[in-house]
Amino acid sequence: MEMRVLRAGVYSTVQDRGRPAFRHAGVPLSGAMDPVALRVGNLLVGNDENAAGMEVTLGGAEFLFPRGAIVAVTGAAYEGVPGWKPLALAPGQSLRLGPCLRGARGYVAVRGGISVPLVLGSRSTYQRGGWGGHEGRRLQDGDLVPVEGAAAGHVPAIMAAWSLRPEYSDAPILRLVAGAQAGWFGEALTSREFRVDPRSDRMGLRLAGEPLAARDAKELASSGVVPGTIQVPPDGQPIVLGADAQTIGGYAQAGHVAAVDLPLVAQLRPGDRVRFRTITLAEAQWLALQREQEIALLRAGLQARWEQAG
């Protein structure tokens, strides 16, 4: 079974939850920039939450399912497309993600899952390496993408809980846990506003603002980084690392965005304004565990509904 990409849009790729187990070989995590949106989308269509879907940056994308499909659109909001619930597409009907109303990255989960081959245990696209996803690259107009058993069908009347649908904002306050070099920058990171630079991509969200001056800066030996790490290069303009970021880095680490707020980072657009607020590690981990519990509840509820639906 195949899906036809009628229009690929600005930048669309196949992503799952990434490849967590190859970072010792320098392989980035990759996977959905907004992992919560992809996981919830998968649960809404009755998939395993690690199934591969499409990450659509901004809009302008259209996908055709010749035999119909059950899909869910999560993350960014699109004109005329009901989000965060399963949708039944009749044979030959296409899914059109036109202008993006809110957020920056939409996720299309398809019942059955996108079935491109696994590379290093994941179907995620890693464009720089040229592997994973659909032929190791972003989607192009006319691509035929394999989907496992997509077909039209009946969908149960279900929606994702509001608690799992974050309020995407063009001026969020991102919660962070202090980094090893937080002391170099004093209160500067949490007392200023930054703008999202257009050069941002899946490797990193580049922020622009009054440069952060480092006190007592010294040469650092490269060490591990994670998606969400806030690096400050010598020019003082912070970079929030994204899903395709490298695994070790040598820049100062001012902080790390809490995992629970990574969806807000994924949904920022160039020009949006960002502020930071420091929370404790205990708070960040408690919030992460709470989020996992909400997803577990949703998983249990939706599995039952899909079983009833047959």
């Binding site: 967590p20 187990a21 190859f22 970072r23 010792h24 070989a25 320098g26 392989v27 980035p28 590379v119 290093l120 720089r128 390496g129 040229g130 592997w131 994973g132 846990v177 980094g179 090893a180 030996a221 490269s222 060490s223 591990g224 980084v225 994670v226 969400g228 790490t229 490298q246 695994t247 070790i248 880095g249 680490q253 790390h256 965005v257 809490a258 995992a259 590690l281 205990a282 960040a284 981990q285 992460a288 565990l289 996992e292």
Partner: protein, 239 residues
């Protein structure tokens, strides 16, 4: 020798970094390798992966899957990792015995010409004829200190001091895969075509990263590496 110091700090809410000191101690690389080897064997609950670097090992974990005593997932993971370090004697005065087999990997390199556009500059800087730069670069053994930057990229220590050279002021937009470069006191090989700021002195026909192989990377942290000069004809045949 000063007593080694292991510190464990959170790296955000789903990773932690064990740093090994005191800074500059010559036994640190062996201790990093010993810790990485111990973590590879231990199968700690919640551990997803680890990344060894120069003087540290970062452990990536799933906060929802840690086990043991401790109020926070971080405390549970910290206890498990530090126990693992302790049983591998990572922090003992005597440098721990190597757990990994000691591999020596030979990498063929065609130096200079179109493959090494910065060789003349490096030679001039070192006040050596290019063939002596080649002889010195290929005449010593290197150690893989870390894998990172891009998949399979080895950070190699052991570059003769005479060949040290600062990174280029303006990075190249695209460095071809296989390029062998010098960046500061380090030398390395680019496994993929990527932007890069190192001085390029040659190219290897070997593939350093194959995403469909297991393991995907030719090199791993701790390996010893030597470069063997080959001719352009040998390079062509190799491919």
């Amino acid at each position: 020798m000063k007593k080694p110091v292991l510190t464990c700090e959170p790296l955000g809410d789903s990773a932690l970094t064990v740093t090994i000191g005191p800074p500059g101690d010559p036994s640190i690389p062996a201790r990093v390798r010993a810790l990485a080897a111990a973590l590879a064997k231990a199968r700690l609950p919640g551990l997803l992966d680890f990344a060894p670097a120069y003087a540290s090992v970062t452990v990536f974990y799933d906060p929802a899957r840690t086990e043991g005593e401790g109020a926070l997932p971080f405390h549970r993971m910290q206890a498990a990792v530090m126990d693992c370090a302790d049983s591998a004697r990572v922090g003992h005065r005597r440098v721990p015995r190597r757990e990994l087999e000691d591999r020596l990997v030979e990498i063929p390199v065609c130096y200079g010409g179109e493959f090494g556009p910065d060789l003349p500059e490096i030679a001039e800087r070192a006040r050596l004829p290019p063939r002596d730069v080649i002889a010195r670069h290929s005449g010593v053994e290197y150690r893989v200190e870390a894998i990172g930057f891009v998949p399979g990229f080895p950070y190699l220590s052991g570059l003769p001091q005479r060949l040290h050279a600062p990174r280029r002021a303006t990075p190249r937009e695209l460095v071809p895969a296989g390029s062998v470069g010098i960046g500061g006191a380090q030398t390395g090989v680019y496994p993929l075509a990527t932007p890069g700021g190192w001085n390029l002195i040659g190219r290897t026909p070997s593939t350093l990263f194959r995403p469909l192989d297991n393991p995907p990377a030719l090199l791993r942290a701790g390996d010893r590496v030597v470069f063997r000069p080959i001719t352009a004809e040998e390079f062509a045949v190799w491919k």
